[in-house]
């Protein structure tokens, strides 16, 4: 729509209109950028503030307040304390490690189980009793609407009799269950996009069904699996409800730790800010570097 000749009033008008739309678009983009980033910026900077800085509402480091490591010291994670033994840091690292183990293993398990099921459903005809393929798919996807509260109390009792309460395994199983429908959703879409002729060729060449799945299909579907894995990882890392009910000391995860701090000691601004930053940073980094996969995963179900 660019005007080739700039010697006429009408052409100049078009250009003015174009500039107006540019300014509107970038204005809106920048406004929303601020809405998205300001809470993160605020948390990160607050973790370097002292109490008076918070009360005066200082915002910009080095300009209206001097950053210091007070908040991170309360986690034992400042340059001064990093070499020393610190119980707070041990506690924090334990929670961090719990969160990592639980979310990574739950996502892995979900991706393995979900991919197998999705592949089977996209390729073969099943009949379990009255259930056909579409019924089985619906059965998997329908788990998504199951609210966590319904399962929470039975699981509490069940885990207590199985001695799985406050254990990582227990949480891993539950988290796998909650993300499984999403994985099936994404992976079914992936497998449907892979032409069957590939496997037919592999079968002709003498591979079995499982052989062609592992050697031919899996490498092609790998990006989709990564997408499903990362999406599950995000959901599991952030899960609070089950962790709050089913863990007490050993298997407590990071969100539970963050939540319990707000309750116990009033609001200790700098340490809370440091703790929150530490809890969100891993996923922020994941988002920045693996954004492509997250978007791919979420887009999978949307566009048929």
């Amino acid at each position: 729509m660019t005007a080739v000749f700039k010697d006429h009033d009408a052409d100049n008008k078009v250009s003015a209109k174009w500039w107006a739309s540019r300014i509107a678009i970038y204005g809106a983009l920048i406004a929303w950028t601020i809405i998205c980033l300001f809470p993160i910026y605020w948390t990160l900077t607050t973790s370097f503030k002292m109490a008076p800085d918070v009360m005066r509402g200082n915002m910009v480091p080095w300009w209206d307040y001097t950053p210091n490591w007070r908040g991170w010291e309360s986690l034992g994670l400042s340059p001064r304390l990093i070499g020393e033994v610190s119980t707070v840091r041990e506690e924090f690292l334990k929670r961090f490690w719990n969160s990592t183990i639980i979310s990574v293993s739950a996502s892995l398990l979900a991706v393995v189980l979900g991919s197998l099921a999705a592949y089977g459903l996209s390729r073969f005809n099943y009949r379990f009793g009255f259930m056909r393929n579409s019924d089985i798919s619906f059965f998997f996807l329908s788990q998504l609407i199951l609210p966590p509260v319904v399962l929470a109390l039975p699981f509490l009792v069940l885990y207590r009799s199985l001695d799985l309460l406050d254990s990582r395994i227990g949480l891993i199983l539950l988290y796998t269950l909650t993300v499984l429908p999403i994985v099936v959703w994404i992976m079914r879409d992936q497998f449907q996009g892979i032409p069957v002729e590939l496997e037919e060729a592999a079968l002709v060449d003498g591979l079995g069904i499982w052989g062609s799945f592992v050697q031919i299909v899996l490498p092609i579907a790998l990006p989709g699996m990564v997408a499903a894995f990362i999406l599950s990882l995000v959901l599991c890392w952030n899960e609070y409800f089950f962790a709050a009910l089913l863990t007490s000391t050993d298997a407590k995860t990071l969100p539970v730790m963050v939540a319990s701090q707000t309750g116990s000691q009033g609001i200790n601004w700098w340490s809370m800010a440091a703790l929150s930053s530490a809890a969100i940073l891993p996923l922020v980094i994941v988002a920045i570097f693996l954004e492509k996969y997250i978007i791919k995963g979420m887009a999978a179900g949307a566009v048929k």
Binding site: I25, C36, L113, F155, S276, V284
Partner: protein, 367 residues
């Protein structure tokens, strides 16, 4: 929803001996018998009928796992190639069934008991008492009413998300940067968000937003007034979940056939006209998917409420999940809480089924 399977049609001549079939069946029934026998024994031990027993039910879990493995192996032993195909779906199906169906049945049982974890008696069936209590529980109905508000808020989120998706789809520079930034809120855990925004930025004395409000000449009070408190919860939840809808809608926009939009431009449609007449109708299926999934996630809303307001003021921000969470956490009322959860599940199933039915009928109608 999907094409029926059988894309990869294989014909195999399996020659399975009778002995192999029998062995497979014996494995399944044997392990099942072992599992049931152990369970009965342990139940008898806990009831005090048998002297010897296990400290907990863990051995029964192992027996169950053994049975599940045997069932999977037996598929191949008994059915050959067909069994190998079943093996794709069976593990996931077994996993979901054992982790959903059994707990649900158990939940159904405890929801008709007066079980309180603090009481020594253990669960005692009490018929319809819980139901009657629920009927008169104003707070539960209030929480359900709040859920209606929360779900309605999805429409506003949808409008914002669509706007952002359009912005990201426009001819802009640094698209990747904006996409990453817009995605970030989704990555943050609701618990961290409830501290970062709910407890710190909205803090009445020092929070930056309170400061702005005071500069504008109002007295900031975000969680005192029921309406404002509910709005604040909605806003925080929207902040984390708008990226989710935005990404889905953006994917839909990018998959639109470019020729049609260009054709509408050639025909002289203004920007608004081509949006209203071309883009929006084409986006309907994607929009519906995004909204349905978002509503399903919304129905689970709890973390932010538990951590910021714990339902206050006076239950104005309670969601059903956060209400039951407190019923359980503070009062250990397992029986009653479970009944509330079951009722909620039934309501959700009815609501989602109706929604899907309506949507599919509406989509079939010629526009």
């Amino acid at each position: 929803m999907s094409t029926e399977g059988d894309l990869l049609h294989t014909v195999t001549a399996d020659d399975i001996s009778e002995g192999r079939k029998r062995l497979g069946k014996t494995m399944v029934w044997g392990t099942a018998g072992l599992c049931i026998a152990l369970a009965i024994w342990q139940a008898a031990f806990e009831a005090g009928r048998v002297e010897m027993g296990f400290g907990n039910w863990r051995p029964i879990l192992y027996a169950y796992l053994l049975w599940a493995t045997a069932l999977c192996v037996a598929q191949v032993m008994v059915h050959g190639e067909k069994g190998k195909r079943t093996l794709f779906v069976l593990p996931a199906a077994l996993f979901v069934i054992s982790l959903v169906i059994f707990p649900l049945l158990f939940a159904l049982y405890i929801s008709f008991t007066d079980w309180n974890l603090a009481s020594v008696n253990g669960p005692q069936p009490n018929g319809w008492d819980n139901m009657r209590q629920m009927w008169n529980d104003a707070f539960y109905w209030n929480a359900l009413k709040n859920m209606v508000y929360y779900v309605l808020a999805v429409s506003v989120e949808y409008v914002i998300a669509f706007g952002l998706a359009l912005l990201l789809n426009a001819q802009i520079r640094a698209r990747k940067f904006f996409r990453v930034v817009f995605l970030l809120p989704l990555m943050l855990s609701p618990v961290a968000v409830s501290w970062m925004i709910g407890k710190s930025m909205l803090e009445v004395r020092f929070g930056p937003i309170s400061r702005v409000v005071r500069e504008l000449g109002f007295e900031p009070s975000f969680f005192g007034n029921p309406e404002i408190a509910r709005f604040m919860i909605m806003a925080m939840d929207a902040w984390t979940f708008i990226p989710f809808m935005m990404i889905m809608l953006l994917a839909g926009l990018q998959a639109l056939p470019r020729e049609i939009i260009e054709a509408s431009k050639v025909d002289g449609a203004s920007g608004w006209q081509s949006f209203k007449e071309v883009i929006f109708p084409l986006m309907l299926p994607v929009s519906v998917t995004a909204i349905v999934i978002r509503v399903i996630f919304k129905l689970k809303l709890a973390d932010i409420i538990i951590n910021v307001t714990s339902g206050g003021p006076g239950g104005a921000t309670d969601s059903v999940t956060s209400f039951i969470f407190r019923e359980y956490r503070d009062r250990s009322n397992v029986g009653y809480g479970t009944l509330l959860a079951i009722v909620y599940l039934v309501l959700i199933i009815i609501f989602v089924t109706l929604m899907l039915k309506l949507v599919s009928r509406w989509m079939e109608r010629p526009a």
